[in-house]
């Protein structure tokens, strides 16, 4: 498959949040302000690329040769959990400013289903290593795009006159629905 096709498909057509429903918790949780949304995007991008790289290699070099693919779920989630810890420790030592920016979001990422979802999807789609990395990067960009758009709208929403019963979560979900509807316009792009 061509890389351009993978990228456009992962960012717009099959957007990870708005059409695959992965990573909804951070999408709703940290989207109240634009700045936290950008921080979360950075952390997710970082972990998603590393996690996909490692899980892909473990799948091809360990699980498949030994014919134990049924251990995939357990292995992948443990790798991701360990990796998040590792990234946190390394970042703290190597780049304190980056750690300051991403630190609070890192522990939340272990239970971000987008990370595990992408790791499993690359195996299901039978990507090679390069395609997997491109796919992970594009998915992370798609996640960031949706999150930043949504956070921008929610900041404006604070000023809007929303009916009393719809305030808070309900209106946020409906806005997300409209955003998803807009993204459906990309459907025939790739």
């Amino acid at each position: 498959m061509e890389y351009a096709l993978i990228i456009i498909s992962a960012i717009f057509v099959n957007n990870v949040v708005l059409s695959q429903f992965l990573g909804i918790c951070p999408f709703l949780g940290v989207s109240k302000k634009l700045s936290t949304g950008i921080g979360m995007t950075g952390a997710v991008t970082f972990v998603m690329i590393i996690a996909t790289l490692v899980t892909w290699m473990v799948q091809k070099l360990v699980l498949e040769p030994f014919n134990v693919q049924f251990l995939q779920t357990i292995t992948f989630i443990l790798i991701i959990a360990a990796l998040v810890q590792l990234v946190e420790i390394v970042l703290k030592k190597v780049s304190p400013p980056l750690y300051q920016a991403l630190g609070v979001f890192l522990p939340l990422i272990t239970t971000n289903c987008a990370i595990l979802g992408v790791a499993i999807m690359t195996i299901q789609k039978d990507f090679n290593l390069m395609e997997s990395v491109v796919f992970a990067t594009a998915t992370a960009i798609g996640f960031g795009l949706a999150l930043v758009l949504f956070a921008g709208i929610r900041e404006q929403l604070d000023l809007a006159d929303v009916p009393k019963g719809m305030k808070g979560t309900p209106i946020a979900l409906i806005v997300a629905g409209l955003l998803a509807l807009a993204f459906m316009g990309f459907a025939n792009l790739a």
Binding site: L18, S19, Q20, F21, L22, G23, I24, C25, L28, F70, L71, Q72, T73, I74, I77, L78, A81, A82, T110, T111, N112, C113, L116, G117, I120, M121, Q124, G165, M166, T169, P170, I171, A172, L173, I174, A176, G177, L178, A180, L181, M184
Partner: protein
């Protein structure tokens, strides 16, 4: 604690989906029909009950520092069991739920109950808690699935209620999931205050 109260809190007062907003990914992702919602809900219930059972049994043996990884291993084990069972006995449902079955492992409800309840309470209470929370989740998913299926394709559990041509297709697609859940949370909030 009163066992009945412990069981019933998952349905209304502390319903995972409608009040705690946990487990949003499967809630939105698989509820394009009532039967998918029910299947996902029951699979999650099984994992919840079994994980709560095992974790409450071994809670005294696990060192404090590694408890989260230990919980994740227990949960992932049961998710793998569910995955294999579904693949063997309900292949059609397995195919339509797809990616969301392995993703039960990162469902915040399961880890949340393990951490907040099973690691502190007795075996019996933990099973009841898991069952209540799980069935509450299954109820929410089935409800959302029914609404979307009925509005979107005019069916309910695959039984035709009105002609499909009059259905609003958008409710079966991705945007409809967000919009339907938004309105349902608003209605349930209103009911709770009344």
């Amino acid at each position: 604690m009163n066992q009945w109260k412990n069981f019933s809190k998952g349905f209304f007062k502390e319903n995972a989906v409608f009040t705690l907003l946990l487990g949003m990914c499967p809630t939105l992702g698989v509820t394009s029909s009532a039967i998918n919602g029910l299947g996902m809900g029951l699979a999650t219930t099984f994992v919840l009950v079994m994980a709560n059972l095992v974790i409450s049994l071994i809670k005294d043996v696990i060192p404090e520092k590694v408890r989260i990884p230990a919980f994740i291993v227990v949960i992932a084990t049961f998710v793998t069991i569910v995955e294999m069972l579904m693949q063997a006995y309900v292949p059609a449902l397995y195919d339509s739920l797809g990616l969301f079955i392995p993703l039960i492992v990162v469902n915040c409800i399961v880890l949340g109950r393990a951490e907040a309840f099973a690691s502190k309470n007795s075996v019996g209470a933990s099973i009841v808690d898991g069952l209540g929370m799980g069935l509450g989740f299954a109820m929410a998913l089935t409800l959302l699935g029914s609404v979307r299926e009925l509005l979107g394709s005019g069916k309910l559990f695959d039984i035709s209620i009105y002609p499909e041509d009059y259905g609003m297709l958008v409710f079966v697609l991705a945007p409809g999931a967000f919009i339907a859940l938004g309105y349902m949370i608003a209605i349930i909030d209103k009911m709770k205050k009344a």
